[in-house]
Amino acid sequence: MAAGLGAGGLYAVIGVCLVLMATLTRVVNFSQVAVGVYAAFLAIRFVPLGVPQWGIVIIALIVGATVSALLGWIIATWLPEATATARSALTVAGLLFFLSVSYLQFGTRPQPLIPLVSGPLVSFGVVTITKLSVALIVLAIVLAIAAKLVLTKTPIGVQLRAISDRQTAAELLGINVKVLQVGAWGFTGAAMALAISFAGNSQAANAGVMVNLIIPGAAAALIGAFKRMDRAIVGGVALGGIQGLLTAIPAINLLRDWIPILIIVIFLLWSQRKEVWDVAR
């Protein structure tokens, strides 16, 4: 169980980022993790040049924010009034793009991305809680609280909420929708780059495997119904915990890969009790 907490923390961060994107920019951002992975992998190219670790992280943050903002700019410029489906479809193209660029630049071999923090924090007998899992969960909570504070207490937050509710109305009020949306994209891109840098390459994987993290992340976000960050955090941590528990049982090795998708499906079945329509009237 404890082994899964690290993964769960990462799922929680991804979930929070996805919820933020969905509420602020009406997008299910499939390229979320791909952007973070690309940024972190690009940043470690600078390790041989003698850049210290904090410098690497800053590079990752800048790259993540920049490429994410670029994608956001494309969507805000050309698809301002499009449906959430059309906007999300564009991030699928983004996912394909960043995944391919990652393969091209870094090859398909696992990358030597070292976690920022490592080692045990506390041990209770056989159960060890690592610093990394705590750090990731704290990161998710800090992100969620910071986002909540900004959204509810600052003038920018009011504008952001106005945009997410009624984009055209907000635009008519003179709010610079594009800058704010691109800003939101940049912020989650940086957050994702930070999370990936934190987590490191715990799964000893290449970009392709890392990018699959979007699926448990989406499961976490879905538990928050793409609206509630707190539930996304709980969902992400619980999902990681369940997966950790199941690792202990080798007999159901095959099932382990299906856990996130099963949770997504069960959640959809539960949430579909009421009929939902494409438009209000």
Partner: protein
């Protein structure tokens, strides 16, 4: 807007078969004329084309995001290998075993599609994308662990009719693949022009519109997704027979992503464009290989093309077709098609229908609230069979809420509707529509991807034959059945919607502001026709209308709503002269 896949109805059925035959001749020629390696690559092009055709049904026609097309291929390939290598089915039917296995395997993929689609399709499109991506990743991990049956025993997947895997066998297999591909093209073509196809196009445009036309939204999406999975499965079996040994790398999720993006770029619901997409999908990596450029560049190119296609909301196929179509219409001197409501022949005034005296719809104590806001309260009324009831009231009075509750969009309402003795409680929107309760919308809910005739056919669910459809279109002054809706102006589209729903011959039809977008003269002509509808088509009507002239000219009885309650109800003259109605409608000053 798509100008393509114009149905059917007026086109000759033979043409697709002729094209298929020509394609077959070309395929045989290519199969024996091209160099061996080119034939092998061309087979891959056809296999990719089949996968894209399947994807086109979901992404292009039904407008959903599916990111697991190669997972369907992988599942079918796995099942096919298992059946061919590990079970007696591999030889049971002699040379035709392969075809039996192919169909069973594709059905297995379709069942998987059903299982994935059932939970995902209830909600909006993005959910399907999340679920399909998740299933693709999970299946990928599973295939890595269990591997394909050909690697368990090192027995290769046999080809159909014992075609060898040498160049000579490759040629025969290419022709076999071409035959299957042509059959699938024909199947997709006729499906798209069938009522299923109309339901897919309709659901991509408006879910509410689809449900009110009597088709379950979930059914439309599920059929699209399962058909897509089935065709994806066929492509998987063809692929495994072509290369005879596969592993998980053959079906990587990233390739499914690329395939999805490509289907958007090309417009894979168009058959020629699926072929073009298949060529791109195979040729781009092949060219890169020749020039020793890393293959990832191929996906990068697809991604950039995808961004371009998505941001402009077009695809190559539609751009080409729209240009050709415009040019042809311009050459013929055709522009936007408009309605043509000519005065009816007789010229005499048709009396307002008063009905049979029997109650068709009884509404008792209807209440609807949204949170703290009460939209409707204690509304009771009766509609006489064969009459036209006017439902009027100021903006915000609850008229449209009444229609939504009646037609099943607001199941949380209180009170009861009874239609011709049947309580509507608990019935879904499409079930009420099938029972004979139809409505039209204030908004444009007519899918521009259909022709006028295909739309009417879809809405009537087979209740009107070709002649019947032409008759009702003529009666309402609508464009002819073969006209694509995309060249019809919005006011006329609403008239087509009315005509289609009359042609469906429901017991009760609710028209929500049908005359918006008509000129004054057209109002009068429209009213003339409405008065004929109850007798001519056996349809009772509730009409919501702001234009009191129209209401006066067609309604025998009128119900006035104000602030969610019934203000007055009864015979036209009594209601319209009621001082309380005048006050609510005109305001105090008008009374002076």
């Amino acid at each position: 807007m798509s100008l393509v896949n114009r149905s059917s109805r007026t086109r000759r059925v033979g043409l697709p078969f002729l094209i298929g035959l020509i394609a077959l001749v070309v395929a045989v020629g290519l199969g024996f004329g091209l160099p061996a390696y080119t034939v092998f690559i061309s087979t891959t092009v056809l296999v990719s084309m089949v996968a894209l055709l399947g994807l086109g049904v979901v992404t292009g026609t039904a407008g959903m995001i599916s990111l697991m097309q190669l997972t369907f291929a992988a599942v079918a390939a796995w099942v096919a290998e298992f059946l061919a290598i590990r079970t007696p089915l591999g030889t049971m039917f002699g040379s035709f075993s392969f075809i039996v296995i192919m169909l069973i395997s594709a059905l297995a993929a379709a069942v998987l599609g059903l299982l994935v689609g059932l939970p995902a399709l209830r909600l909006r499109g993005v959910n399907l994308a999340v679920v399909t991506l998740g299933v693709a990743a999970a299946a990928d991990a599973t295939f890595q662990k269990i591997s394909f049956p050909d690697s368990w025993t090192n027995v290769r997947m046999p080809r159909p009719f014992d075609f060898a895997t040498d160049p000579a066998g490759d040629r025969s297999f290419f022709i076999f693949t071409a035959v299957i591909t042509i059959l699938i093209c024909l199947g997709v073509y006729f499906l798209q022009n069938s009522r299923w196809g109309s339901s897919w196009k309709s659901v991509a445009f408006s879910e509410r519109g689809t449900a009110s036309a009597g088709t379950s939204v979930r059914w439309a999406k599920l059929t699209a997704f399962s058909v897509s999975a089935f065709i994806g499965g066929i492509s998987g079996v063809l692929l495994v027979a072509q290369i005879s040994k596969v592993n998980y790398i053959t079906f990587l999720p990233i390739s499914s992503l690329a395939l999805y993006v490509l289907s958007i770029v090309a417009g894979a619901h168009l058959i020629d464009m699926a072929l073009f997409g298949g060529i791109l999908f195979v040729l781009v990596p092949e060219i890169l290989k020749q020039f020793k450029v890393p293959l990832e560049w191929g996906n990068i190119v697809f991604a950039i093309l995808g961004v371009q296609a998505l941001t402009t909301n077009t695809n190559l196929g539609e751009i080409a077709r729209t240009a050709l179509f415009r040019r042809r219409r311009k050459r013929l001197g055709l522009g936007i098609v408009e309605k043509n409501l000519r005065p009816l022949g007789s010229g005499e005034l048709i009396p307002i229908p008063v009905g049979t005296g029997r109650t068709l719809l009884a509404v008792t104590d209807l209440g609807v609230s949204f949170g703290a806001i009460t939209a409707l309260q204690g509304v009771s009324l009766e509609v006489t069979e064969g009459s036209i009831l006017g439902l009027i009231g100021p903006n915000g009075a609850g008229k449209s809420t009444f229609v939504d509750a009646l037609t099943g969009f607001l199941p949380q309402h209180t009170g009861a509707f009874v239609l011709d003795g049947t309580p509507l409680q608990g019935m879904l929107v499409h079930e009420r529509a099938q029972l004979g309760l139809r409505r039209t919308y204030q908004q444009d809910r007519v899918p521009p991807t259909l022709t006028v005739g295909a739309f009417v056919d879809f809405v009537t669910v087979g209740k009107a034959d070709s002649a019947g459809i032409d008759e009702v279109l003529e009666f309402f002054g609508c464009p002819t059945a073969s006209t694509p809706i995309s060249v019809v102006d919005v006011g006329t589209r609403r008239l087509i919607e009315v005509a289609a729903n009359v042609a469906a011959r429901p017991r009760l039809l609710v028209l929500d502001e049908p005359a918006a977008g008509l000129s004054h003269e057209e109002h009068i002509e429209f009213g003339q026709r409405l008065r004929l509808v109850p007798d001519k088509y056996g349809v009772t009507i509730i009409i919501i209308e702001h234009d009191l002239d129209l209401v006066r000219s067609v309604c025998s009885t009128i119900t006035v709503l104000n602030f969610g309650e019934v203000l007055a109800s009864g015979q036209q003259d009594d209601v319209l002269s009621n001082p309380r109605v005048l006050k609510a409608y005109m305001g105090e000053t008008e009374m002076l």
